[in-house]
Symmetry: D2
């Protein structure tokens, strides 16, 4: 799997720059793009002690931030300039406590319509591979470029 | 509405300390507790330019973080030591772009069961009062203290 | 509150006919439109013993059917011919067991955009007024008539 | 995959009887259990013209009913007498219109905790295999038998 397979030509380096410049809230968390393919984006959130909460697990909002940006990456796989794609809704299920360590997000297209993109994201611990969270969300897509 | 009305005795100052000490990810965002009552928690997220995203609106994960901590505040209204209350799922609908400015979260109990707390949260812009997001979530509650 | 207040002119009698003719699955359940106003639809599901499930409460899918059709009624409050409005997603929280008896649904607009309608619905027991379920859903709206 | 593999011993014939006797709302729809394994339940909803809605597609509540009962089947894979397992919440995304024809539901465990079961369900058209809907839901599980 490498970036040349993406339909829009977006590469992991491109999306790393997009996060840092356009979405600094997650850019500042240090999220990195691991790989992008035709319909899937894989991102990594490095561990940060300030993401912990009682129970010594990673706090829900940090996990949600990773999932949301992974879904945004998927929007960039579908349309060339997805800056203005916006989440309209998302549902997150927290499945097991995320141990201290990096987290991996794998987001995948469920439906790519002209106006709506529906995608799901699995969040796993990079420590032991356990499934920590599942997110399904909808993005309202910007009109196609003329 | 003032803190003496809370069933568990938790005050806004208490919950401000809880956020800073126990959930630094949101504590670092500067969220403050405005008021707590019998079944409702009102919190405020101060504006931060780094929360903006394309379209000049506040990014979804920052809004979700505010909603999630407001739902956590509600858990502290229900049981005295809710440290270990954990979100099991949450659904967020983004209703309108949140303009640059502070955000207000009002979280309210829908059902307080022995094991599950279900609550909703409305997020409004402090600039113009517009409704920006609606969240419904479930917390798994820790066993009652003996 | 009466039907003359609806923006599209749709009346409770109109929507009763729409359910029977266009959505027989819920029409056959005997759902009736109680009132329609500018942004709110109130519908009633008559009790049917075959809707019960273990625990002597009304089964989730019957409650969901009532909520979904109430959200559809709201779509008819927003555009004149909403036949082709389709649910894109919905989240239901079941808050307390619905005792044998009629159920009331009150659906209300959260956001009426050009393309998406987001609305919520509270389901209450007509027996004792208790809140049984809360639903938030999105409808993709048909293009405006020319 | 056959029924002898289920941890609780429940067989497709058992679950067909459970639906007919305990959940007549879906029993009356003619849902049948295709197979049950360790963590997955596959059920089939036979086509019925009265399930159609405008656009000549199967109505959302019929699809939700199929998904909800498939999630209930999964609860019976986890505990021996799951009569009183109740859905606490479910999120459904409708991904493409379900053409006239039978529907298949495949429900699978995401997390089986002592108190909560979280499972997802994919709904496909038996006509052409297209993915019509995705559901994630939570069941509150009854206490273990003594």
């Amino acid at each position: 799997m490498n970036s040349s397979e993406t339909r829009t030509g977006v590469t992991p380096a491109d999306f790393d720059a997009i996060m840092r410049e356009k979405v600094p809230f997650v850019g500042d968390m240090g999220v990195r793009t691991v790989s992008l393919s035709d319909d899937t984006a894989i991102l990594r959130l490095p561990f940060n002690e300030r993401h912990l909460r009682p129970g010594n697990v990673i706090t829900g909002p940090a996990i949600f931030a990773l999932a949301d940006i992974a879904l945004y990456a998927v929007a960039w796989l579908v349309v060339p300039k997805a800056d203005l794609a916006v989440t309209t809704e998302a549902t997150v299920h927290f499945l097991s406590g995320a141990k201290p360590g990096d987290l991996m997000a794998e987001a995948k297209i469920l439906k790519a319509g002209r106006r709506l993109l529906i995608a799901e994201c699995h969040i796993r611990s990079a420590v032991d591979g356990s499934l920590c969270a599942h997110v399904v969300g909808t993005y309202a897509m910007p009109p196609a470029e003329k």
